[in-house]
């Protein structure tokens, strides 16, 4: 047999390349250029960007899961037949940053693609002692793998159970909203791959308007059960940078009904816990360093 060379080859994403450009003002543009060479979306630093995931038009193709892994080099999550409808990755975690839930109901099959919420008040970021987690110029929450020391504080802090430490390297991983793509003027890989535009990417304020319009339309069409999740700035995390249109209660999709930033009471806690906590952090870091 002739050698193949393909078995060990790293495949690229295979997605159509975007045209992108950066002008003098630091404005990044992305998207397909139209005839006049004008892009239809711009990505500006200092503006808040978000995902609106409209589960009412999700077809469960999992292109988002795969595109995310391809772009970000996320490892596979094991090969387990879970017998939970068509979901065999289970939940968000260090090795699954987009996760499509399948919920079988009487005569209905709900599908929704979950992701890190990029919270307004992000507990993961609040508790991160190293500064590995930070808020970007696009108002997203990103963990920097070269700074993360694997203390794992962020893991229980996240009210959504999103961020997780990876077994193989001990560090915390989660969705970055494709920070590198945004900086390069391209929309995140999942939104780019989604064939039905169930995942929409854009400025948060615009997406909120679009979501409201979609909700109104569905209600007018008699889809009473449609509701938005995470879009309200008044919720327990100050609104999310990744919000959803759902067709049932959040619990049905594995989402907490009333998420509260776990560090809400932190200022008070600090006052009475004082240095004890600091000692604990020191101990955790020391033990991590020893392991290395």
């Amino acid at each position: 047999m002739v050698g193949n060379g393909r078995q060990d080859k790293q495949f690229g994403t295979g997605r159509m390349a975007c045209s992108h450009a950066q002008d003098d003002t630091g404005t990044l543009t992305f998207g397909l250029l139209d005839e006049e060479g004008v892009a239809y979306v711009e990505i500006e630093r200092g503006r808040r960007y978000a995902f609106f995931t409209d589960s009412s038009i999700c077809i469960g193709c999992k292109a988002c899961e795969v595109a995310c892994k391809e772009w970000n080099g996320v490892p596979d999550d094991g090969f387990v037949f879970r017998a939970t409808s068509y979901d065999n990755t289970g939940h968000l975690g260090s090795d699954t940053w987009r996760h499509v839930a399948f919920i079988e109901q009487d005569g209905r099959w709900l599908m929704s693609s979950d992701v890190c919420k990029h919270c307004t008040h992000a507990a993961c970021l609040d508790v991160c002692p190293t500064g590995a987690l930070f808020r970007t110029e696009f108002d997203t929450v990103v963990v920097q793998p070269d700074i993360c020391n694997g203390c794992g504080y962020c893991v229980p802090a996240c009210p959504f159970g999103v961020i997780e430490r990876r077994e193989s390297d001990g560090r915390a991983w989660k969705c970055t909203m494709c920070y590198d793509r945004l900086r390069g003027g391209m929309e995140p890989a999942c939104a780019k791959a989604c064939p039905t535009d169930s995942i929409q990417f854009g400025p948060l304020d615009e997406l909120r308007e679009r979501a409201q319009a979609r909700l109104d339309r569905l209600h007018a069409d008699g889809v009473e059960e449609a509701r938005l999740y995470g879009e309200s700035p008044d919720d327990g995390v100050g609104g999310t940078g990744a919000f959803f249109l759902l067709l049932d209660d959040p619990e049905v999709y594995g989402l907490p009904p009333d998420p509260v930033v776990t560090t809400r009471d932190l200022p008070q806690m600090w006052r009475w816990a004082g240095g004890a906590a600091l000692t604990l952090v020191g101990a955790a870091m020391a033990s991590f360093l020893r392991r290395r």
Binding site: G3, N4, Q7, I59, V66, D76, F81, A83, Y86, T196
Partner: protein, 836 residues
């Protein structure tokens, strides 16, 4: 569609956002069912009952588009006195020979046409059916009279319209309930929706995929849909049509420029050794002289000139003798039987994995093991290449590696991003793609492989007469790059063809029968018009009309909707403003509109053909179906099909249900392979009480060669599984997430269990029929990240008689809890079920 064509399904979702109502009719509740307005579960293999009942509903409630039907279909045409319908013969048409199980189709002809052709020449009959001749009528109108007698009042008892009415009268909503498991209320909702949404102002589209084709009556499924759409006026008009979703990228391309044994490029029939002695003989016997196939000499001679260049002359019949000849059925399954019998010694398998993807995998592997040599070209070492070391027959002792003498050559192939060329999609749209990467290692494109193989072979040829066809081939494409890749654009230009001046032609209407033009595939003529690769055009939809004629190139002549003359009324005016598409501009004396008119540009609506006219000249200004010899949409097929002029419900070869419509249980003309390697489950057997249907899931690609090797896809669906209803799970003792063993007379395969309410038992003939849904992507090895038993091993080989496609969408099986036995015990289990 959402399951297998998620990218295309975005347009269905968009249509829904605009208020289109979408039905999904499928035995299986899939991702598509979840995303539509109405899902109707149906028993696998019963679709002609449903479609027949819709036809009956349209006819008996007078809901057909009368003007369209009268002007554009053969509804008024009179059929021979000798014709007998299934109504008269209890499920048989006239002309059936029980000995050969074939039809003599003479009596199906139009009145006056019965004796125009002898049996041996008649399309559909005898020798013709033996070599899948019917398949070549995909586009090629079978021979029939251009001006048969008609009754425009549609009252004559032998006119097609009346025959249709009688034939479908027994297809009632009650029958739909009894055989399909669809309630009269559900049927009424569907029937009302499609009829309310058809006519002057509106159109309805039907979309199907292999769920319709992979049956022993597959061709007649599509025929039934054609009748319905013609009656409702939904062909040749925007938003109408019957849209086939192909199973793989560029499958449309691989029938246009075929990898099929019975066709030459452009649906020209492959010559037969005993029917076609020379070119004149071939042209006389293949196809009709009226309609566009009347120009078939120009198409074929131009093809021969493209292939043999200067060597092809008038004096040597343009090298017609160089073409290979058929001697019978050289289809996939007959070839495999030939391997087992030792008459087929060598085998090229290119981009396919028949050891996993074809029916009766064991027969496939027994065939592979009995070859002298095997060439497999694929992205990875698929099971078809690795069978000698990991086939399941090794474990049962049916094969031993040391006894397998097959010499296997695995040649790694370049993927679609590693080569340039075109994809032709189901809309007949050719889209050019660039090469993004050099192929790694020794991976090469198919074009590279065949071109350089051809060069090597030609170097070794001598002066022997038999070598001349290969020696004289035009085989001189420019090569480029380090690996000497032949120019795909040069091939595309050869396919397009050139005129006497050597310049690229712009339309098939320029092709000449005298050898002054060349063309590698007449329907693709124009793809390189003006010396420009028209398939590479990418003007965005936002920058052109809604028909988007400047995105890629559609055959023929860049027409986006076929037979679009039918979008205008007989006088050439749009049926309605809303559905205007092409129309007659009387002032300019030409057809015009949003699309390229599929009609002679200057043929006025009032044109009447003179006596003795040929080709397109024989069709009137009101005949939109220009490939048919009479220019009409055929509600009734007088010639060309092997199993009947009208769709008729027959049960699948393996079915737990009795055909209560006729005394005939299964398609009398179906192709059987009654051999030890291919045992059938006995009809009505209590041993095999459940229906199973094979399917695909989004996460994998066909036989898995492109997906099981990739961790990101494999983790999403890591194991073979079956979907069963909670009722069946309880009956058999299956546990969600546990194991089941599915048994047929061919094989026993183990798989994981998904118990789901999405699978519903259907009440058919008073009893509940359970259907098991089995995705077929997994195999025993092939370098897969995930492996498992081969679902297609369960299937029997039984074929549609027109196109020889296997019945893989409906079979019967037994279901056992737990994993299957290993080794000999596995064979014992199958034996026990087969004879028990």
């Amino acid at each position: 569609m959402a399951e297998c064509h998620p990218v295309g399904f975005q347009w269905v979702m968009e249509a829904r956002l605009r208020g289109v109502k979408v039905f999904h009719i499928d035995p299986r509740f899939s991702r598509t069912s979840a995303a539509v307005d109405r899902y109707l579960p149906i028993r696998a293999g019963s679709d002609i009952v449903l479609l027949g009942a819709l036809i009956n509903y349209v006819l008996s409630n007078e809901l057909y588009f009368r003007e369209y039907v009268l002007a554009y279909t053969n509804a008024a045409t009179l059929v021979s006195e000798r014709f007998r319908d299934t109504e008269d013969l209890d499920g048989l048409f006239s002309g059936f020979d029980p000995g050969t199980r074939r039809y003599d189709t003479g009596s199906w002809a139009y009145e006056g046409d019965e004796d125009a052709r002898t049996d041996e020449m008649r399309e559909g009959s005898g020798v013709h059916a033996e070599a899948a001749g019917s398949d070549s009528y995909g586009a090629r109108g079978a021979g029939a009279s251009a001006r048969p007698p008609t009754d425009p009042t549609l009252r004559h008892p032998r006119c097609v319209f009346q025959i249709l009415k009688r034939h479908f009268a027994r297809y009632t909503p009650e029958m739909v309930q009894e055989l399909c498991g669809i309630s009269p209320e559900e049927f009424a909702e569907l029937a009302e929706a499609i009829t309310a949404n058809s006519g002057r102002e509106r159109t309805t589209a039907w979309v199907y995929s292999v769920g319709w084709t992979q049956h022993s009556v597959g061709v007649q499924y599509i025929r039934a849909a054609s009748i319905l759409q013609l009656l409702l006026g939904n062909i040749g008009r925007p938003g109408g049509g019957i849209l086939a979703l192909r199973g793989h990228a560029s499958i449309q391309g691989s029938t246009d420029i075929p990898t099929l044994f019975n066709l030459l490029p452009g649906y020209i029939a492959m010559p037969h050794a005993h029917r076609h002695d020379d070119l004149a003989d071939y042209l006389r016997r293949e196809g009709g002289d009226t309609g566009y196939w009347g120009n078939r000499r120009a198409y074929l001679v131009s093809l021969l000139k493209a292939w043999w260049g200067d060597a092809a002359t008038e004096d040597n019949d343009f090298c017609f003798d160089y073409l290979p000849r058929l001697t019978g059925d050289h289809g996939h399954y007959t070839t495999v039987m030939g391997q087992i019998d030792g008459t087929v010694k060598g085998y090229f398998v290119v981009g396919e994995n028949p050891a996993v993807g074809s029916s009766n995998g064991k027969a496939q592997r027994l065939g592979l093991a009995n070859l002298d040599w095997l060439v497999v070209r694929d992205l990875t070492v698929v099971e078809t290449a690795s069978f000698w070391k990991d086939a399941p027959e090794l474990e049962t002792g049916e094969l031993r590696t040391q006894d397998i003498a097959t010499e296997v050559f695995f040649l790694p192939a370049a993927s679609h991003v590693e080569k340039e060329g075109t994809f032709t999609n189901t809309q007949r749209l050719l889209q050019w793609r660039e090469k993004a990467l050099e192929p790694p290692g020794e991976c090469r494109s198919d074009l590279w492989f065949y071109y350089h193989l051809g060069k090597l072979i030609r170097q070794r040829l001598g002066d022997d007469e038999v070598d001349r066809p290969a020696k004289e081939l035009t085989w001189d494409y420019p090569e480029h790059g380090e690996i000497r890749e032949p120019s795909a654009e040069a091939v595309l230009r050869e396919i397009n063809g050139t005129g006497p001046d050597g310049r690229a032609l712009s339309s098939y209407q320029e092709l000449r029968p005298d050898g002054s033009t060349t063309c590698g595939c007449w329907i693709y003529c124009g793809v390189y018009a003006d010396e420009v690769n028209q398939a590479a055009r990418r003007r965005p939809g936002s920058a052109q009309s809604w028909v988007a004629p400047e995105w890629g190139w559609a055959w023929p002549a860049n027409r986006r909707t076929l037979y679009n003359r039918a979008s205008a009324d007989p006088e050439g005016r749009p049926w309605s403003e809303r559905k205007a598409y092409v129309w007659w501009d009387a002032e300019k004396g030409e057809w015009t509109g949003h699309d390229v008119p599929d009609f002679d540009k200057h043929k006025a609506p009032g044109y009447e053909p003179p006596e003795g006219a040929r080709a397109e000249g024989a069709l009137a200004g009101t005949d939109p179906f220009i490939m048919q010899s009479d220019g009409k949409g055929w509600l009734y097929v007088p010639s060309g099909l092997a199993d009947g002029p009208l769709p008729t419900h027959y049960e699948p070869h393996e079915s737990p249900v009795l055909n209560t419509l006729y005394g005939r249980q299964a398609n009398p003309a179906r192709r059987l392979y009654d051999r030890p390697e291919n045992p059938y489950n006995p009809p009505g057997s209590a041993q095999f009480p459940y229906v199973f249907t094979t399917s695909r899931v989004t996460e994998h690609h066909t036989a898995g060669g492109m997906s099981r090797t990739l961790p990101y896809l494999s983790e999403l669906q890591p194991a073979p599984f079956c979907e069963v209803s909670p009722r069946l799970a309880a009956e058999v003792g299956l546990v969600n997430g546990g194991w089941a063993t599915i048994v047929t007379s061919r094989a026993a395969a183990e798989m994981r269990v998904l118990v789901t309410d999405r699978v519903r038992p259907l009440r058919v003939q008073g009893q509940l029929i359970e259907q098991v849904v089995i995705p077929y992507h997994w195999g025993y090895g092939g370098g897969g990240v995930v492996t498992g038993d081969v679902a297609n091993d369960l299937l029997a080989i039984v074929l549609d008689p027109n196109v020889y496609i296997q019945e893989s969408k409906a079979g019967t099986c037994a279901v056992l809890p737990g994993r299957r036995p290993r080794g000999r015990a596995l064979l014992d289990l199958i034996e026990e079920y087969r004879h028990g």
